[in-house]
């Protein structure tokens, strides 16, 4: 499909794809409207708490870093709001370190920052997180490899086939051109859609910079007009 915005599985510049990318073309099953793939996933056992969206208030003190607000809407392929859907995020701290044992980047952990949050979209499809701006971090993909600052996003939607995990980047990052993961998205206009926009109206005076980023979920075979 020429208008597929997604990366190809095999992207040798991202080394881990070489032994993990499926080589055979996928099979497209004829889905009837009752197909299990079209169910609305009933996520979770834990209700979303009122502070789960605020990554700066999960510990005793405040995390170090540039406080930011990241908000946007989850839309379907016709541009309609997707309300009440779960959005989960995770990210490195301001120094570029994840609160994960396999992250060995010699940058400090922040005792006041775990870096994961979640929320449900409102009636307008809007999500909103308060966090700190993540740092760039090195990885071992190639010599002197660094990931541009990003926040990982996981979004559900109304059919299991819409399930999306992706990464949101920040405008003007000099590492974009050197990042095989962002560059795995074939077309520049599609890569641009992974970059949030600074927004002065979202910015709160004397408190936090604001960024806007919308997520568009894939079409489903039986979407109603």
């Amino acid at each position: 499909m020429t208008d597929d915005p997604h990366p190809h599985h095999l992207t040798p510049s991202y080394r881990s794809t070489v032994l993990r990318a499926p080589a055979r073309p996928p099979v497209r099953p004829a889905l009837d409207p009752e197909a299990a793939e079209l169910l609305d996933p009933v996520y979770g056992h834990q209700p979303v708490g009122p502070l789960d969206h605020d990554l700066t208030r999960q510990h005793e003190g405040e995390p170090i870093g540039e406080r930011i607000i990241v908000t946007g809407r989850v839309l379907d392929s016709r541009g309609r709001a997707v309300p009440d859907t779960l959005v989960e995020i995770w990210q490195a701290n301001a120094t570029g370190r994840y609160a994960h044992p396999v992250d060995r980047h010699p940058a400090p952990l922040d005792p006041n920052f775990t870096g994961s949050g979640r929320c449900l979209t409102d009636a307008d499809g809007r999500y909103r997180f308060v966090t700190i701006k993540p740092g760039a971090y090195p990885w071992r993909n190639h010599p002197n490899a660094w990931r541009p600052a990003h926040i990982h996003f996981s979004v559900f939607g109304t059919a299991f086939t819409q399930r999306l995990i992706t990464q949101m980047y920040f405008p003007g990052d000099p590492l974009f051109a050197h990042d095989p993961i962002l560059q795995s998205v074939p077309r520049p206009e599609d890569r641009e859609r992974l970059v949030c926009a600074f927004d002065l109206d979202t910015t709160e005076p004397e408190w936090a910079l604001g960024y806007q980023w919308d997520v568009v979920l894939g079409a489903t075979p039986f979407e109603e007009d």
Binding site: A23, L164, Q167, L194
Partner: protein
């Protein structure tokens, strides 16, 4: 006239660091132990060299049920869910997968969908019994016995 269609947000890899954010204690247990149709679904995720994939995340979705399970160091996963009427849709994310792969777990080999597949490959979608109410299903991302993966996106227009 339908509204113009918007291109979907591109997928990016789940990466290596999701383990403290996405998995949760009850995630692998879509039903309780005493559910009358409870089955165990377990197996391993393997790469093209037959090596375990220790940083994959699997999700299943059935009517009213959802399950999420990360793989262990040996590539293994284990769900408890309900015996399906037809099949269990299975979604796999991993470091090194820039977009997830979709597959289906069938507990028997007689489904019409399987009959339409290459006979050499259709067995990759059929779990093998591994005890009472227990089924084993390995996911091979690549190689001679690569699992049949599915594509669900309709053509845009």
């Amino acid at each position: 006239m339908p509204a113009p269609s918007l291109p979907p947000t591109p997928s990016q890899t789940v990466g290596p660091f999701f383990a403290y954010a996405l998995p949760y204690a009850e995630g692998p247990f879509a039903v309780s132990e005493d559910h009358p149709d409870a089955i165990e679904l377990h197996g391993r995720v393997l790469d093209g060299a037959g090596e375990p994939v220790p940083d994959a995340l699997l999700e299943i979705c059935q009517p009213g049920l959802f399950g999420r399970c990360p793989t262990e160091a040996d590539g293994s996963y284990r769900f408890r869910t309900a015996r399906p009427d037809t099949y269990i849709p299975l979604l796999v994310f991993a470091r090194g997968l820039l977009k997830p792969v979709w597959t289906r777990v069938y507990l028997t080999g007689d489904a019409p969908f399987l009959a339409g597949l290459d006979p050499v490959r259709r067995g990759t979608l059929v779990a093998s019994p591994s005890g009472e109410r227990s089924y084993r299903f390995d996911v091979r991302l690549q190689g001679d016995r690569e699992t049949v993966f599915l594509h669900h996106v309709p053509p845009r227009g």
